[in-house]
Symmetry: C2
Subunit: 217 residues, 2 copies
Amino acid sequence: MSIVTIERKVLEKNDEIAKRNREEFQKRKIFVLNLVSSPGSGKTSILEKTLEYFQGTIPIAIIEGDVQTNLDAQRIAKYNVPVVQVVTNGLCHLEAKFISEAFDSLTTDTIKLLIIENVGNLVCPSGYDLGEHHKVVVLSVTEGDDKPLKYPAMFRNASVLLINKVDLLPYLSTDIEEIKKNALSINPKLILFEISCTANAGIEQWGEWLKTKIEFK
Amino acid sequence: MSIVTIERKVLEKNDEIAKRNREEFQKRKIFVLNLVSSPGSGKTSILEKTLEYFQGTIPIAIIEGDVQTNLDAQRIAKYNVPVVQVVTNGLCHLEAKFISEAFDSLTTDTIKLLIIENVGNLVCPSGYDLGEHHKVVVLSVTEGDDKPLKYPAMFRNASVLLINKVDLLPYLSTDIEEIKKNALSINPKLILFEISCTANAGIEQWGEWLKTKIEFK
């Protein structure tokens, strides 16, 4: 029971900082996404495709969260956008205070869209508000159709579900309609996109949705 | 800093119970595996294939860990082996005390092999000893070849790496030799098996290895 109490205190402190982050983002008119998923679902590939889609038309910055290594930041660096790598040194999720620090080290004033790539973990990041406008959960079809039911907190707290690697569906027993049904049973408000970074599918729909959010925020 | 101290206390308490679990398993001559991976890497499918391989020749029991639902225990139940479902209610890993309780509820005295399927999470379960003889990490080739570098703790603490879904390699840019190289750079002692549950590949090698451990323990 003592663990629960401590966790609650950590979460309360985190929520305070997240609130301040959100106020700062609002003030500067930056639309902020928190990209979450299992390891290897394709968050970084979706980021790359998103950067290619916008190709400098909108000023974007990236915060990369990883337990270890800066491999993801290296992948993103070649798109010539501001990128900060947060290495958690074993911690299983990003916290609002890391984002606050990382954001301070981003020097550009013109950012319109900030995408935070969280640590690959379908459990722990669900409880940590970073101050984002939307949590975007990525699920690869290779993970099977039962994941929304097995990891409900993440799907409940997210606003958007990107169903990724749909090009692999012909080689899997995964039923994409079952993924959608399960996800919507947990969170009927989820906005869904079907994506394949390899086949370049669904990126335009995702990009168009992003544009409307950036323009109307 | 206080969080770190608290985590250390939790881990110390866990290690104590894990030590008692291990003594109990030794006394009863039960070989125990702790199966860990990202969500959707195929732990349950590998369990099913392992149970099919042994088909009642060795008495096996299963402890299923999930954040939510008993879907995995339902899948395993049809193999007519003793199975206990542990639902962590949001907690991101199994702890030694859950295993102690679950083990007490297993009524058979004849178990030779106990397989614990941990919560799908490539980060948090790495620090929690359950009293197992080996941590077995499952990595699906769909997750990419950089995962051992990005989640090193799990690969460092495991004894065995099951590289799963190798039937999908023709449709991916993943290089399996790179997975092996990266995994062995983190932990040169890792024992590797290439597995496909769909194509029924590698199960025999894995089963043969298991047999030697059970016979010689």
